[in-house]
């Protein structure tokens, strides 16, 4: 039977949808690295929100607050030479790949020292040396582009894989399925990470998506799917290890990370389509940073003093990036005409 070709496995346990089973804790250095990185993503985005409020960042600004465990956990499963691509809620992925917070923030403020010289903005930054290929503003546009990156890995036989992030909203775009078809036909080395934060702008997944689970969307193409608690960085890392191993050896795989964004879709979204209780419950009970902190403190791998010091460090990095982003000049008017074409 055709369905037997797929190995759609759920990671759901008795504890509820997407909750992962208890596993042994990684070593202290790994835990602290996860914590530090998630904290950087959180504080960076809070600062970006603040600068937006001050009029220093314009246009659209989609914050990653609440989803930090996804990019952090996935990135740790990657090897040098692997490639990453995502949509427009992208600051978290950039920082996770190791891009410089100063230059990311300077791009947000539209300054010359930004990754795109101020010409791309929040949704369009790229860093080839970090394997980061954007930063794309059209919902699901990054999905076939990501398959193209994976195609290049396979064409060159360089052993690399691509992680292609997209949201629950993007899963209803036709090009996703055109891509699934080709990725499966050609066995491309790619992990499709669906960051399911429950809302495509203001429309809940339930009102937009038929079917039960997004990780099952590859069944017709023989692409296996997994579900993971996207609020638990340890579960994400664990699932990412398996998914990347599969992609490297056996081709495409879908990983649906169940996550949540605390803020609105973009800065101007009051988020009236969900209850305050829902947001509050996620923040108080499922917060990825607080969850990890509790685990670390319980296991006595760290203490309040060390965490406070780390918090101060991160705040200084973020404040420095904000200063840098305000001090960097706007692009010279001559930049208007550069980078339209590569001059031969």
């Amino acid at each position: 039977m055709a369905t037997e070709r797929t190995s759609t496995r759920s990671r759901r346990g008795a504890s509820g949808r997407g909750q992962s089973k208890k596993t042994a804790l990684p070593d202290a250095d790994t835990l602290l690295a996860y914590y530090r990185e998630m904290l950087l993503l959180r504080r960076f985005e809070e600062k970006a929100g603040q600068l937006y409020g001050m009029g220093l960042i314009g246009g659209f600004c989609h914050l990653y607050i609440g989803q930090e465990a996804v990019a952090t956990g996935i990135q740790h499963a990657l090897e040098p030479g692997d490639t990453v691509i995502t949509g427009y809620r992208d600051h978290g992925h950039m920082l996770a790949t190791g891009m410089d917070p100063k230059r990311v923030m300077a791009e947000l403020t539209g300054r010359i020292d930004g990754y795109s010289k101020g010409k791309g903005g929040s949704m369009h930054m790229f860093a080839r040396d970090k394997g980061f290929f954007g930063g794309h503003g059209i919902v699901a546009g990054q999905v076939p582009l990501g398959a193209g990156l994976a195609f290049a890995h396979k064409y060159r036989e360089d052993g690399g894989i691509t992680v292609c992030y997209f949201g629950d909203g993007a899963t209803n775009q036709g090009q996703v399925y055109e891509t699934f078809n080709m990725a499966a036909l050609w066995s491309l080395p790619i992990v499709f990470v669906i960051e399911n934060n429950r809302y495509g702008m203001g429309t809940s997944q339930k009102r937009a998506a038929a079917g039960q689970h997004l990780y099952e969307r590859g069944v017709a193409y023989g692409i296996p799917g997994e579900e993971v608690d996207g609020m638990d960085v340890l579960a994400v890392r664990d699932a990412a290890d398996k998914a990347t191993a599969h992609a490297r050896k056996d081709g495409p795989i879908i990983l649906e990370a169940l996550t949540y964004r605390y803020r609105g879709h973009s800065m101007s979204d009051p988020a009236k389509y969900r209850t305050k209780d829902e947001v509050q419950e996620m923040r108080e009970q499922r917060d990825p940073i607080e969850q990890l902190k509790k685990k670390m403190v319980d296991a006595e791998v760290t203490d309040e003093d060390q965490l406070k010091a780390m918090d101060r460090d991160i705040r200084e990095i973020v404040n420095e990036s904000a200063r840098f982003a305000q001090d960097s000049p706007e692009p010279d008017p001559a930049e208007l005409w550069t980078d339209v074409l590569v001059e031969a």
Binding site: Y115, G120, L145, G148, L149, E178, M182, Y262
Partner: protein, 470 residues
């Protein structure tokens, strides 16, 4: 020093708002992420979250305040270890908040005479020279061979694939079927399925996949069975291929060739008979090529494959089977962006591209019989348009007829008329005329299709009109 909380801008257009109510009181502890107030913007009621931690020391703007300008301090937060006395000195000394508009206004350059404001870029095109380049594109005495456009295109791809392993071709029926129009004939045999790749019928998907591969450093040739179907993929051609280099500040681009037959074939009706040159010619970040002869098809396709930019390469089904002289050279390329004088003349300039060059040449022959010497220019490249060659010709003939297969509105004729306004106004002895496809979807009936497309008598008539000959 207490931390000021400023009235935030909560939408791209907000300049002021109403501070509806405070959710925290003076003396309350706040942590990052706490909702501290509600603000009504021009669009909605929004929550303001604290970014900093500490004690809410003082509320400066009370509940219900209307028209609070963005960036006005609305409260002060006491950091760890500070007490209320810190409020006394600091509130007064706080620097005036900067206006949200200020950074832009202050940095906005005086653009009155700024070249950046010009529609043509920092350097205006040099004055057209009266004499064209006399350097021949093919050295004198070069051996020629007769090739069809179809063979020339295939040879161009094969040569570039032999020279560069990064080059591959993908599209519908390009491999095992040997090409829907047999343009990729023989390539699978020579280069294997690794580099000659049959795709499913999935234009949006494989166009995007091709662009991604180009971003990763490969040199894809993406064949559309016809350009009509590329409308499914135009998002990736424009949004992903054409704009990325700019959005990335030069960090990465997409060296890719999109190619296939463009324009009307014969009797295939409206959805399969459309001419796209000026659609793509409109878009910065692309190069757009539409060759006529087999030699140009070969030389320009080789150049397109080597070009570090995305190139839209528009072929023509009716031309595929036509034969032309093609130079026998090891590595024959032509520069993108140069028009070519197909027939010299002194009385009227006729511009055309792709299949319409055949109509223009026939018309010139007919006009010669009536004592009018027409100069026929093959534009060859749509973007960047070689307007200098056209201007140079009009300086001699003082008359211009633009011929194109596509629809009239906002087309090549419209563009060339503007080129004349900008660069050759004083040289014109008659208004510019355009011969175009009719402003209707393509009909199926043979007689109507004939009427919808530019024909030789239309060109002859237009040329005589601008020469004031009836």
């Amino acid at each position: 020093m207490p931390i000021e909380i400023l009235m935030p801008a909560l939408s791209p257009t907000m300049t002021e708002g109403t501070l509806a109510r405070w959710l925290k009181s003076e003396g309350d502890e706040v942590t990052a992420g706490d909702v501290i107030a509600e603000i009504e913007t021009d669009k909605a009621t929004m929550e303001v979250e604290a970014v900093d931690e500490g004690k809410l020391g003082r509320i400066l703007v009370p509940d219900g305040s209307e028209h609070v300008a963005v960036n006005t301090p609305i409260a002060l937060i006491l950091a760890e270890g500070e007490d209320a006395t810190a409020l006394e000195t600091d509130g007064k000394n706080a620097p005036a908040p900067k206006s949200a508009a200020e950074p832009q206004a202050a940095a906005a350059p005086d653009t009155k005479d700024d070249p950046a404001r010009s529609s043509e870029g920092p350097s205006l095109p040099a004055e057209p020279r009266a004499e064209a380049d006399d350097v021949p594109e093919v050295p004198d005495g070069t051996e020629m061979t007769r090739l069809t456009v179809r063979e020339a295109l295939r040879d161009a791809m094969a040569e570039e694939m032999r020279a560069d392993d990064r080059v591959f071709v993908m599209g519908e029926e390009v491999a095992e079927y040997q090409g829907a129009y047999k343009v990729t004939q023989g390539l699978l045999e020579e280069f294997s399925a690794r580099r000659v790749i049959d795709t499913p019928i999935t234009e949006y998907g494989f166009a995007g996949l091709g662009v991604g591969a180009a971003m990763a450093g490969l040199r894809p040739i993406v064949e559309f069975m016809t350009w009509n179907f590329a409308m499914q993929a135009i998002d990736h051609i424009i949004n992903s291929a054409a704009k990325t280099l700019y959005m990335a500040g030069g960090e990465l681009g997409s060296p890719i060739v999109f190619r296939g037959p463009n324009g009307a074939a014969a009797r295939v009706a409206a959805q399969h008979s459309q001419e796209y040159s000026t659609w793509y010619g409109h878009c910065p970040g692309l190069k757009v090529v539409a060759p006529y002869s087999a030699a140009d098809a070969k030389g320009l396709l080789k150049a397109a494959i080597r070009d570090p930019n995305p190139v839209v390469f528009l072929e023509n089904e009716i031309l595929y089977g036509q034969s032309f002289d093609v130079p026998v050279l090891d590595d024959f390329t032509l520069p993108i962006g140069k028009a070519k004088v197909l027939r010299p003349g002194k009385d009227v300039t006729i511009t055309a591209f792709s299949l319409m060059c055949a109509r223009a040449l026939e018309a010139a022959e007919a006009l010669a019989g009536e004592g009018i010497e027409a100069e026929v220019i093959d534009l060859r490249t749509i973007r960047p348009l070689d307007s200098a060659t056209v201007v140079r010709s009009v300086m001699k003939t003082n008359r211009l007829v633009s011929v194109e297969e596509g629809w009239p509105r906002f087309g090549m004729g419209a563009e060339l008329a503007m080129v004349m306004m900008e660069d050759a106004f004083d040289h014109l002895d008659a208004p510019v005329a355009r011969v175009t496809g009719k402003d209707v979807p393509m009909p199926y009936a043979a007689n109507l299709e004939q009427l919808a497309l530019p024909q030789v008598p239309d060109v002859v008539e237009a040329a005589k009109a601008v020469c004031y000959r009836s």
